[in-house]
Amino acid sequence: MSRISNAFKKEKAFIGFVVAGDPDLKVTVENVLALEDGGADLVEIGIPFSDPVADGPVIQDADQRALNQNVNTEDVFELVRLIREQSDIPLVFLTYANLVFKSGYETFCKKCVDLEVSGMIIPDLPYEEQDDLLVVMEQNDLDLIQLITPTSKERIPKLAKRARGFIYVVSSMGITGTRNEFKEDISQLTNEIKKYTTVPIAIGFGIHTPIQAVEMSHLADGIIVGSEIVRIAHEDSPQRLMTYIQEMKDAIS
């Protein structure tokens, strides 16, 4: 937890997301280090899942590529161990409920503690289904990152109150109006959240460019970039990734 709050200590935080094992485990280590070098404050390590229903096509394909190389959960733990040999950057796992469930909540949480991974983002584990896991996470001082979306509405208070680490605001909804309306909607959402918590807010989903980053960073404590990093990791080099992070980080600093 302390590590996550570190990420939001300075200016606006930049949070990056990688799919473990795409293009391969070794390059993923390099990519995470490149993110850190580029200025990222926190990295989400995606454990690839066969059916990532909450992700868009770019990340789905990356998961599939990683699985095609037989990357399993144990491999991802090993990958984090390698990262930890060279970096103290705050890390969280992003994965689907079944991988954590199947691993066993106790086992998985213990592993996080061992690897100094501070928390988890589980897109298919909503508020109502979190109790069993939360008990174990709290015992291990791990943060379960709450997601809040424009459709959360009257759910916001309870989500905000339970939040630890940071709040992941899912900004993009398929059918949105004009850009200004969109910004206004997000700003209302973050203002609403702030009524109930002091936990930092990061906005993610659909942020690719420095201009978008700037706009969103005005509304929150940090921004999350996923697909674009995954795309660069797939198509380009760790060096290019670092340059991209620098541009984005500069924009919001």
């Binding site: 469930f101 909503p126 899912v170």
Partner: protein, 391 residues
């Protein structure tokens, strides 16, 4: 929303409020006689219910044991039990003010049923179908389009049914305001398994009345095939509290329960969280969902509805695996003895009846649900038997 340890709502936060709305609307609708009447009207005046419960004389005589009755869901409009559920969900969607239905489909049956009801109710309709499946089932794609719906070929993952579910759920996430996701089986997050249970339970409600009128007593066994499990839960529902009625679900064992090429989830799977629910799934030790196999596209699903997982744990229902070979034999057997071309899915249930009936007394009764008609399967059975039917 829970069946023992199973069920729940394991979906992205984006959908939670929508699920709550559906739950609330459904509970209201369930208690609204007007809604129930609307459902009843379409079931009876459009879907062709009640479906027959017909005595299978030649098969009963031939097997020489229990008396066999078929619950004939194959006689419904569009040729399967699927229509019962889509009528209920589409009317609920309309009641909620939705103008657009989306659905996933594997081989195309649920897509056709959903497109059918969308046409009848004048609603927009979009169907998600794995690209592999759109290529294997071009005719069903055309059929869906003929009914006025749009087909989206899904190019992610292995491009089959579960990827279509994923894509439909994502599409729903992006447009919940005017869109209702019509789930095709007794799976998914609460309240879907409950709704599907309720809408399909017309099968066993009718069957119970019909068998009592015919024989004066409850059946000794009810047999139905299980993929996601909607026809089975519908066939079991009215008998669950009658502990003297054996309930038997027939899963697709594919090449064999002990082979890799199987879809016998309750026998071979383990508890997990997927497609919005906690239930039994075919998965590896990490929790990655397996690709499964069955000759039957309708049973070729790596999970099963949460209520079935619970019924299995409680030993209230028994689940047995039927191989491709056994199902194809049964497909041929019922055609020759009863003049019924039953779906290859349903043939899994018939295959088990062939084993079960001879072990029972002549004064005992089995009800076997024929979940759909097999016209769609004739070509693939011919190929299975090495007969060239290409024109």
């Amino acid at each position: 929303g829970h069946y023992g340890e199973y069920g729940g709502q394991f979906v992205p936060e984006t959908l939670m409020n929508e699920l709550t709305k559906i739950e609330t609307s459904y509970q209201e609708a369930k208690n609204d006689p007007e809604f129930q009447q609307e459902v009843h009207d379409l079931l009876n005046n459009y879907a062709n219910r009640p479906s027959l419960l017909s005595y299978a004389k030649r098969m009963s005589d031939d097997l020489g044991g229990a008396q066999i009755y078929f619950k004939r869901e194959d006689l419904n409009h569009t040729g399967a039990h699927k229509i019962n559920n889509v009528i209920g969900q589409a009317l609920l969607a309309k009641r909620m003010g939705k103008t657009r239905l989306i659905a996933e489909t594997g081989a195309g049956q649920h897509g056709v049923a959903t497109a059918t009801i969308a046409a009848l109710l004048g609603m927009e309709c979009e169907i998600y179908m794995g690209k592999e499946d759109t290529e294997r089932q071009k005719l069903n794609v055309y059929r869906i389009e003929l009914l006025g719906a749009k087909v989206h070929p899904v190019t992610t993952g292995s491009m089959v049914l579960k990827d279509a579910v994923n894509a439909a759920m994502q599409a729903w996430t992006q447009r919940v305001d005017d869109t209702f996701y019509v789930l095709g089986s007794a799976v998914g997050p609460h309240p879907f398994p409950e709704m599907v249970h309720d809408f399909q339970s017309v099968i066993s409600k009718e069957a119970k009345q019909q068998i009592l009128a015919e024989t004066g007593k409850l059946p000794d066994a009810v047999v139905a095939c299980v993929g996601g499990g909607s026809n089975a839960i519908g066939s079991f529902a009215a008998f669950i509290d009658d502990s003297e009625v054996a309930l038997i679900g027939c899963e697709a064992a594919g090449k064999g329960v002990d082979t890799k090429q199987t879809a016998a989830t309750i026998e071979r799977g383990s508890t997990g969280i997927f497609h919005g629910m906690k239930s039994k799934f075919m998965q590896n030790e990490d929790g990655q969902i397996d690709e499964v196999y069955s000759i039957s596209a309708g049973l070729d699903y790596p999970g099963v509805g949460p209520e079935h997982s619970a019924l299995a744990d409680m030993h209230r229902a028994q689940y047995v695996g039927i191989t491709d070979d056994e199902a194809v034999d049964a497909f041929e057997y019922i055609a020759k003895t009863e003049g019924i071309v039953a779906a290859i899915e349903s043939s899994h249930a018939i295959a088990y009846v062939k084993k079960l009936a001879p072990t029972m007394r002549k004064d005992q009764v089995i009800i076997c649900t024929i979940s759909g008609r097999g016209d769609k399967d004739v070509a693939s059975i011919a190929k299975y038997r090495g007969v060239d039917v290409d024109e």
